[in-house]
């Protein structure tokens, strides 16, 4: 039984099929890179997994337990608000501008504690949330920036804070939606480095949508190549990059001469 199993997901907007029977699976601690042209449905797939969009058909299982299907509307079930299965790092960071780096990470943690207490769930009163936050900031190398506001951080630093924040609720799978696309080229390296370190030093399972082909090749255990809402390729990086399929070759040739980052 795979750790995460995504089965036959379909999603239409205004009668147009945006996700057409997408399936993949992931083992714990693995990283799946999703590649494909702009508009092929990568963001939509991540949004569905993160309950930001509903799906039309299909199922998602985590450790054998069903966590998403078509009946699962945006009104989440109570218990799901306590256990976020997925975390999401947005392309545009989406930090809260009125809070410092530290406060951005602390907010979801302290609210989660409040919700649990309200529902009579035992919480460990002694666990110090401040320490948890500092630990998360250390993972992205930004402890000394903890009291700065997003407006005082570079884009790369903002995205690193966003990564720490997305890990705050210990998601089972952390999703990244083109985490470096909104950054100046000289800032992408520091974000990719953080993701690489997470991959190497933690058992975090990750789904990474990216246009950084060299990085996807290096860091992922599996690659999913999508086109027009369909999964065209799913396999180990070497297999996908050596694929003989026409559309895969055509897509990858667009990147042939681009510099591998980092």
């Amino acid at each position: 039984m795979p750790y995460l199993e995504v089965k036959n997901i379909q999603k239409s907007f205004d009668g147009e099929k945006i996700l057409d029977d997408v399936s993949f699976s992931l083992e714990e601690g693995e990283t799946l890179a999703i590649i494909g042209r702009s508009g092929c449905g990568k963001t939509t797939l991540l949004r569905c997994l993160n309950y930001l969009e509903s799906i039309d058909t299909g199922e998602v299982y985590l450790k054998g337990e069903k966590i998403l299907d078509a009946s699962y509307s945006k009104k989440r079930k109570k218990e799901d608000s306590f256990r976020r299965h997925f975390g999401l790092v947005f392309q545009s960071f989406n930090l809260f501008p009125q809070y410092t780096a530290k406060e951005n990470i602390l907010l979801p943690l302290s609210l989660q504690r409040k919700y649990r207490q309200k529902s009579g769930i035992m919480v460990d009163e002694n666990s110090n949330l401040d320490e948890v936050v500092l630990g998360l900031l250390a993972k992205v190398g930004l402890e000394e920036k903890k009291d700065l506001y997003p407006s005082q951080l570079s884009g790369g630093q903002q995205q690193r804070v966003a990564i720490a924040r997305a890990m705050a609720l210990s998601p089972d799978v952390l999703c990244f939606d083109e985490p470096t696309s909104a950054l100046d080229p000289e800032l992408t390296g520091e974000v990719l480095k953080v993701i690489r370190e997470l991959k190497e030093k933690t058992r975090l399972s990750m789904i990474l949508v990216t246009h950084e082909m060299a990085f996807a090749h290096d860091v992922s255990d599996k690659i999913l190549f999508m086109k027009g809402g369909k999964a065209i390729e799913l396999g180990a990086p070497e297999e996908v990059f050596a694929s003989k399929k026409e559309e895969t070759i055509a897509f990858l040739s667009g990147y042939r001469h681009s510099n591998p980052s980092e």
Binding site: N50, Y51, L52, S81, F82, R84, F86, G87, L88, F90, S92, N94, L95, F96, P97, Q98, L107, P108, L111, Q112, Y115, Y149, P150, S151, Q152, R165, A166, A168, L169
Partner: protein, 229 residues
């Protein structure tokens, strides 16, 4: 000189009513405006259209007319009398007339309508990503609004809100129309008694008060400068 002292006292008395009207109107119309803005954005269509209609009427008719309607019409139709209130407190002995309360009601709903449009614009200008970040982080709808959206909205609406607040300072003079004993009322009485300068003196009161209000608004804006929105 003795006369100047008496004029000053009289104007100060009127000015205190004007300030009460101003402050109480703000205290009532800001939350009411926020509620109205929720109404105008509601997914429940009857509520949305009703709220929008009310806002349109309140913005589309003169405040002076609304003051008359609120003061006279309930009495003529249903015999309703606006209450008056004497505080009778040793430190704070003031009487608020029924006219004052009618005016306060008219000002509050009228300004709430203007504020609601400003709030609606402010709320709708917050990027969708802020809500989605909150959702993905397991925050409840209420907490997303209170902890994430509200302060960003406040920061965005301060400039347009400030314009309305400055207008409100001047609009308090309209209370004179139903003989609330505010600053204009007193100045007019003195004018009728043949004294010309108190009307300019009263102008100085309004002007200085507005300078103070503008200063406070600017300080608030500076305090929120760290929020980049």
């Amino acid at each position: 000189m003795e006369e100047f002292g008496q004029v000053t006292l009289k104007l100060l008395g009127g000015f205190s009513s004007s300030v009460f009207l101003f402050v109480l109107t703000l205290l009532l119309s800001l939350p009411l405006g926020l509620l109205m803005s929720f109404g105008t954005m509601s997914r429940f269509l009857p509520l949305r259209y009703l709220s929008r209609a009310i806002v349109m009427v309140l913005r589309g008719t003169p405040l002076l007319l609304q003051i008359f309607v609120i003061f006279y019409v309930p009495g003529l139709l249903w015999g309703f009398q606006w209450p008056s209130l004497s505080t009778g407190n040793a430190y704070f002995d003031t009487t608020f007339s029924n006219r004052f309360f009618a005016c306060l009601a008219a000002f509050s709903v009228n300004y709430a309508a203007y504020f609601s449009e400003i709030f609606r614009g402010g709320i709708q200008s917050i990027p969708k990503g802020q809500y989605e970040a909150g959702e993905v982080l397991g925050m409840s709808k209420g907490d997303i609004f209170k902890k994430v959206i509200l302060l960003q909205m406040v920061k965005r609406v301060i400039p347009p809100l400030g314009n309305e607040v400055v207008t409100l300072v001047k609009d308090t003079a309209l209370a004179n129309a139903i003989a609330v004993t505010e600053l204009m009322f007193q100045a007019q009485q003195l004018l009728n008694a043949g004294l010309i300068y108190p009307i300019f003196y009263a102008g100085a009161f309004y002007f200085l008060f507005n300078a103070l209000v503008s200063f406070a608004l600017r300080k608030t804006e500076e305090r929120l400068a760290y929020i980049a929105v």
